[in-house]
């Protein structure tokens, strides 16, 4: 049995040859790797020299690319400069406009007039306009320009316009010196770029005065500009032998993994044709399951695809589950697993559908019962499995699917969305498949649906699933969701049963349902996560204790002390200590934790040199605690001068050079409930990696902390009432976890509350975190947020299906209709969506404009009022007062230079320029706008800045208020509006596609049937009749067609009758004529014989012999005439040719495609050549099909197979069958059971088949159907020799 089965798998030689070839390469790769390793070891010195040279050349090339890019931009600017500074242009308006085009967004450009005045610039300024001269480097040469935050690759050059010399500078950031852990600050580092690219540690000193490294383990070379002048030094660690060998082995392992993968794929392809030949669906599925399991296991073992594709898709923080030993440990691994799951799910769906439509009913009642229970359990487990997977997708991921800032999420989130969709789709089609099998177990006949029985079965399934739900300890789904889930899946089964079972669009339908189901579950578990985030918040509040803060300060101070150049800065009295402190802070864990903190520098006399701080402004108390006898950091807890209840940790460390204290670095930090969500830190600075910032809006929380039963701290705008405090302390606390859940009411609204108890330093600390129940965001907004992404995948699938069927579609009436529907309905939807988005964007901008303009009004009014009261007050003091009293951040400009900024610290650090925004300058100065809102950017953080001319004390200023520091509230963000608009419209588009397909089918179906029927008439089948329920013109058309065919048939019969009659008459005449001819001589001879007999003639004997001869001769003549007539009456001569039985069967069956009876051809043969008369053969099949239909058959199955030298056709129907008494007569001529039949069909069929050495037999017949067995010899093409 096994051998027989194995023998079936002979494989495709072509693919197996490839597999064999791959296996040889695989084996060889191991030997080659070993050889390369040995060769590398042996000639290591040469290899090292070569490798070092290669690295140098590569890095030089990379740098040259950057230089060339900068030069090309410089040339463009120079061209623009010449074009716009023609004498006829009276201003620099066009120049300002041109250099602020998007193509220069990553560059800093400045243009100076011959008098040294800055006349045009774009975005941030790399070179301080006042520091252009003396030039740092010769004109036209690239060099590195560094400040505390960035290093730029720069060129200063001139442009000669007539007799004037203009200076122009162009700079592009090449190295960012600070880092902030948030999405607005991508890393920008040429050093990192080459380190990652060449897998060795690089260090680039961007100074022409830097020296080469003297460390023997490192290699240095000079970076030269195009004029071959040194502008920097690159140093890299020479590759070690061990790391080189490890790299070789790693690369080899990657190649081998790929080879294994391809070997498996080609082995699969090699077995594909044998696999297709298998009849048993279950066996086929088992083999497929085995193959894919093996494929996945091997992929996992060899580390594919993670080994080849690195980056965020393989980052486990985006998603990782330990399910099945880690086959879903990253978004990419999850996707790989899902693709294989989907393929298997589709197979289950296909096999179950085939079983439902054509499978045999299972008779064993116990077996059916067991299978039913198993399938019910499987369905529930699948639903629960999907829920468990979606829960893991939510809880085991840092992606906050519903809080993505953009309408189209980033790559990891996009892939996770696809994963959820695929998983939902797979589970939906597998469950639909299982329901198909259950229906078959209950004898639901797809051809004769008993609707009441069907509803009863589906109802029973629902009830049993609910029983499973209530039995389950943790069903992971709500009863409502279970009902929705089952209902949607039943819709797919409805589509299969009542509409088109084999339509490829069923998968599209399943995809939509899979999407709806998975998003609903995602939403459900997201609310659970939001609830859990209260717990996380309470843990977070208690996590950041003084131990951790002390560690943080200790580590920051030590790291700052060890930082290169820190002590050198102290010797430089012009050093920007604000920027240095900011860079140190950004790299420390204080930024990552987003706590109130800062770093400051002091000189040896304890004078403040500069610093950076957020949310905390300590004094110099720390110096009271500093000890002379230690160089270690001193860290103490200090109470704030303003408010003693506010405590913070302050630390200090001496900065020494050769044992002499040159200054101090102080770091300080505090953690308070108010720090939750880092409200004191500007958005572009704070870390948003903390889960707190992303799961739930922290501003909606109400937090109370009690120490030894007394309220010590709170967050939010409410104090707890006495009753609420009582409720909190009376709550039963879990003794293991020291926590509890309760509901508190604030202002009549219910708040979900998490209570957490902690024992610290013998004090009982109780923390409660509450959020309004309505804040749990389970709504349509969330649904659409994900559905937009899913709909993109769904529409993409639809397009792929459409494109894959373009050849088959051939722009039929139906496809034209579908395209017309889609075009007409989707176009307005898209236009409407775009229009609405634009309108809302305008409204949103208007909202921002109003908010900022209102704040500008307050500032202007405040400043004006101050000057009305105190005329001599200086403008800076007035601005400081306004900022402090109004709490509004703003800046004031005179001309294009900044006069005041309430966020001066960020100016000093170098985050903002003191020059007016160039686009604002263009609009206010050249276009004469009174006010202007500019979209500005700090790294990737976008914000709006409102500018307005104001007049104070008869002097003109430009006032600016932005939303980077002033938090404004607009009703809806653009993303939120986009989600609603595109979410609803994408849903509408999917519904339109489904409805359009349905209507296109409905409308085109009668036309398609008419086309097929016309084809059948063309082929001579006049018995065809189109049954329909149409109304209107279509009814008239179809009725007209039916009338036409019936009339044609009637006329044909009458004509045939007349022809037959005429033929008979003619034949009778001919027969009479022909018969008369021999009769006359016979009569004459016999008369002669009679006379001779009467005369008793003596020649009688002689005459008798002669007459007898004559009569016999004439009888022969008569016989010959009869034979001639018989031959004449024979069937028309056959036109024998080579005919393909498969296509002939298909053609014939296609003629009946719109009949109620379903006709299925089962054959593994793609071609079956016989010798026959094609028209007779078709007539034979038409006769058989018509007979079956007239016997009320709902289904006809035609099984074509090859048996020895014959083809066998088993022609089966489920009609009323042949009576036992008639079995023997059916092939007789003139035998018929039909009222209008002539009894010729089967006799003619038999005669025709016999004429081509074939046969037809009644194989079996009963009341449930009849089967005919037809055999026809296989046509063997003769070779030339045989011919």
């Amino acid at each position: 049995m096994l051998r027989k089965f194995i023998n079936k798998f002979k494989g495709d030689r072509k693919y197996f040859s490839i597999v064999f070839f791959i296996l040889i390469i695989l084996g060889a790769s191991g030997i080659i790797t070993e050889r390369i390793v040995n060769e590398t070891k042996k000639n290591w010195e040469n290899h090292l020299t070569q490798k070092v040279n290669e690295l140098e050349i590569s890095v030089r090339n990379d740098f040259d690319d950057k230089q060339n890019e900068l030069l090309s931009k410089l040339n463009i600017v120079r061209r623009d400069l010449r074009k716009t500074l023609l004498p006829e242009n009276e201003s620099y308006k066009e120049l300002v406009k041109l250099i602020n085009y998007e193509e220069f967004d990553n560059y800093s450009i400045e243009v100076f007039a011959p008098n040294g005045k800055l006349i045009a610039w774009n975005q941030s300024l790399a070179i301080n306009p006042n520091e252009l001269f003396p030039l740092n480097f010769p004109l036209g040469e690239t060099y590195f320009l560094s400040d505390y935050l960035l290093t730029y690759l720069t060129i200063i050059d001139t442009a000669h316009i007539q007799s004037d010399i203009f200076y122009l500078t162009i700079a592009k950031p090449i190295e960012k010196k600070f880092s902030l852990a948030n999405q607005y600050n991508p890393t920008l580092s040429f050093t990192n770029e080459v380190t990652l690219k060449y897998q060795t540690e690089f260090n680039i000193d961007y100074s022409p005065y830097s020296e080469k490294s003297k460390d023997g383990r490192k290699y240095s070379f000079e970076l030269l500009n195009r004029q071959k002048n040194k502008i920097g030094v690159v140093t890299f660690v020479k590759p070690s032998l061990i790391s080189t060998i490890n790299n070789i082995k790693e690369e080899s392992s990657k190649i081998q993994s790929l080879l294994v993968f391809f070997a498996l794929i080609f082995a699969g392809l090699g077995l594909k044709s044998d696999f297709k030949k298998l009849n048993n669906g279950i066996l086929k599925f088992s083999l497929l399951l085995l193959y894919f399991s093996l494929l996945r296991a091997i992929l996992f073992m060899v580390g594919l695809p993670s080994k080849i594709i690195s980056g965020p898709l393989t980052d486990p923080s985006y998603f990782s589950s330990a399910f099945a030993w880690g086959i879903v440990k990253s978004p990419l691994e999850f996707l790989t697993t899902n693709i294989l799951i989907v393929i298997l799910a589709i197979q289950i769906f296909r096999y179950s559908k085939k079983y439902f439509l054509f499978g045999r009913y299972l008779k064993n009642k116990i077996g059916r019962g067991i299978l039913f229970i198993i399938f019910i359990a499987l369905i529930f487990l699948l639903i629960r499995g999907l829920s468990a997977a979606v829960r893991s997708v939510i809880f085991d991921s840092t992606i906050r699917y519903f809080k993505e800032p953009n309408i189209l999420p980033d790559l990891p989130s996009l892939v996770m969305n696809l994963n959820i969709l695929l998983l939902g789709f797979a589970v939906v089609i597998v469950i639909a498949g299982f329901i198909n099998i259950i229906l078959k177990l209950f004898y639901i006949d797809p051809d004769k649906i008993n609707k009441a029985k069907l509803i009863l079965i589906l109802f029973s399934i629902t009830i049993l699933e609910y029983i499973a739900f209530f039995i389950s300890n943790d069903p992971l789904i709500t009863p409502f969701l279970l009902a929705v889930f089952l209902f949607l899946i039943f819709l797919i089964n409805y589509q299969i049963i009542f509409n088109k079972p084999n339509s490829i669009y069923n998968y599209l339908f399943a995809l939509v349902i899979g999407s709806v189901v998975s998003i609903t579950l995602l939403n459900y578990f997201n609310t659970k996560l939001e609830r859990e985030s209260l717990k996380t918040t309470a843990i977070e509040i208690n996590r950041t204790d003084s131990n951790f803060l002390t560690f943080m300060l200790n580590e920051t101070l030590r790291s700052a002390n060890n930082q290169e150049n820190t002590d050198q800065f102290l010797s430089n009295r012009y050093a920007n200590f604000d920027a240095i402190a900011f860079v140190l802070w950004g790299k420390s864990s204080m930024q990552r934790e987003s706590v109130n903190s800062g770093i400051r520098f002091y000189d040896r006399n304890q004078n403040l040199l500069g610093g950076y701080q957020v949310g905390l402004d300590p004094g110099k108390e720390i110096f009271k605690y500093i000890k002379d006898d230690t160089d270690e950091p001193t860290i103490v807890e200090i109470s704030s001068e303003d408010n003693e209840s506010i405590k913070y940790l302050d630390g200090i460390i001496k900065l020494k050079e050769r044992g002499i204290t040159k200054g101090y670095i102080s770091a300080f930090v505090s953690f308070d409930i108010e720090s939750i969500g880092a409200n004191n830190t500007p958005d572009f600075i704070k870390s948003n990696l903390s889960i707190l910032n992303r799961v739930i809006d922290v501003s909606q929380l109400k937090i109370f902390q009690f120490v030894d039963s007394r309220l010590s701290r709170l967050y939010g705008d409410v104090y707890p009432s006495r009753d609420q405090i009582k409720q909190i302390f009376q709550t039963q606390i879990d003794s293991n976890y020291n926590d509890a859940w309760l509901k508190l009411r604030f202002e009549g609204e219910s708040y979900e509350t998490y209570l957490f108890r902690e024992l610290k330093d013998n004090k009982e600390i109780i923390t409660t975190v509450s959020v309004a129940e309505r804040a749990f965001s389970w709504d349509l907004f969330n649904f659409f947020k994900i559905f937009i992404v899913h709909s993109l995948f769904i529409v993409l699938t639809f397009l792929v299906i459409l494109l894959s069927r373009v050849g088959k579609l051939n722009l039929t009436f139906k496809s034209k209709l579908l395209f017309a529907f889609l075009f007409i309905s989707i176009l307005p939807v898209v236009i409407l969506a775009l229009y609405n988005t634009q309108a809302i964007k305008e409204r949103s901008r208007e909202g921002i404009f109003n908010e900022l303009s209102q704040r500008a009004n307050y500032v202007e009014k405040h400043l004006t009022t101050q000057f009305q009261k105190f005329k001599t007050r200086d403008i800076t003091t007035a601005c400081q007062n306004a900022a402090k009293e109004l709490g509004i951040s703003f800046a004031l400009y005179t001309g294009t230079d900044q006069l005041y900024n309430s966020q001066e610290l960020y100016n000093r650090i170098g985050f903002f320029d003191t020059k007016l925004n160039p686009k604002t300058y263009y609009h206010l100065n050249y276009l004469r706008y009174k006010e202007y809102t500019a979209s500005e950017k700090i790294n990737n953080f976008n914000y709006d800045n409102y500018y307005r001319y104001i007049s104070i004390n008869d002097l003109d200023y430009i006032l600016s208020v932005n939303d980077a520091f002033n938090k404004i509230k607009i009703t809806f963000s653009t993303t939120e509006v986009n989600v609603v608009i595109f979410g609803i419209y994408s849903f509408a588009v999917i519904i339109i596609i489904i409805i359009s397909t349905f209507f296109a089918n409905q409308i085109s179906q009668p036309i398609q049937r008419l086309t097929k029927a016309t084809e059948a008439v063309g082929k001579g089948d006049l018995s065809i009749k189109i049954d329909h329920n149409e109304r209107g013109e279509l009814k008239d058309l179809l009725d007209g067609f039916n009338l036409m065919t019936s009339e044609l048939k009637k006329n044909q019969m009458e004509l045939a009758e007349m022809e037959r009659e005429a033929a008979w008459k003619e034949m009778a005449k001919q027969v009479a004529h022909e018969i008369k001819n021999p009769l006359t001589p016979m009569k004459l001879a016999l008369q002669q014989l009679i006379i001779s007999y009467k005369d008793k003639s003596h020649d009688f004997d002689k005459l008798f012999e002669k007459v007898s001869q004559t009569v016999l001769h004439q009888i022969d003549n008569l016989n010959q005439i009869a034979s001639e007539f018989s031959r004449f009456a024979k069937m028309p001569s056959l036109k024998i040719e080579v005919v393909d039985l498969v296509s002939s069967l298909n053609d014939t069956v296609n003629m009946f495609i719109h009949e109620k009876t379903s006709i299925i051809i089962n054959s593994k043969l793609s071609k079956a050549d016989i010798e026959a008369d094609l028209s007779q053969l078709r007539r034979l099949f038409i006769n058989l099909i018509r007979n079956s239909m007239q016997a009320d058959a709902a289904k006809i199955t035609i099984d074509l197979s090859e048996a020895g030298n014959n083809y066998q056709i088993l022609f089966s129907d489920n009609g009323s069958g042949v009576n036992a008494a008639d079995k023997e007569k059916i092939f007789n001529e003139n035998f018929t059971t039909k009222k209008q039949g002539m009894g010729l069909g089967l006799s003619l069929a038999k005669r025709f088949l016999e004429s081509i050495r074939g046969d037809i037999k009644l194989h079996s017949t009963s009341k449930s159907g009849t089967t005919f067995l037809i055999t026809i010899p296989v046509y063997h093409k003769l070779s030339d020799n045989q011919k």
Partner: protein
């Protein structure tokens, strides 16, 4: 043939049942309850030295806070924490690790130490902070900071 059907169904049933598992339990450690915090810190120290993630992950609670110098920062589920730490230790290969300070407490203990590592041939030292919290009878790692 019917037997094949039953076998397939059993395979499917067991596969689907396996999919129900949602919480990662690396291994069973019966002695976990009886250990004191100092022993756990020593065990963690050894496991970090050996790069044995399973030995550390058994102390992960439902949510563990990670803050690493490569930008990783936030609360991670036990499933995520396992692979996040595994990835970190793969890139920053430990050359030596030792706690230099351990503070024991009845419910909340912590330790700090030095983590020497090799990152693409570049050797460096990071400071480590680990805090443990007693939940019921078990100690869980609540925070791991590597700067």
């Amino acid at each position: 043939m019917k037997n094949i059907i039953y076998i397939i169904l059993i395979i499917l049933l067991s596969t689907v049942s396996f999919a129900q598992q949602s919480n990662f339990k690396p291994k069973s450690y019966p002695n976990r309850n009886t250990q004191n915090d100092s022993d756990i810190f020593r065990e963690i120290e050894n496991n970090i030295q050996e790069g044995n993630i399973s030995g550390i992950s058994k102390y992960f609670g439902q949510q563990t806070y990670f803050s690493f110098s490569n930008g990783i920062s936030g609360y991670y589920s036990s499933n995520q924490a396992f692979y996040v730490l595994e990835d970190f230790l793969k890139v920053y290969k430990v050359t030596s690790f030792q706690f230099d300070h351990i503070k024991n407490d009845k419910n909340n203990s912590y330790a700090t130490g030095k983590y020497s590592y090799d990152n693409r041939g570049k050797r460096s030292i990071a400071q480590v902070y680990i805090s443990l919290k007693k939940i019921g009878n078990n100690w869980n790692i609540t925070q791991l900071t590597i700067n």
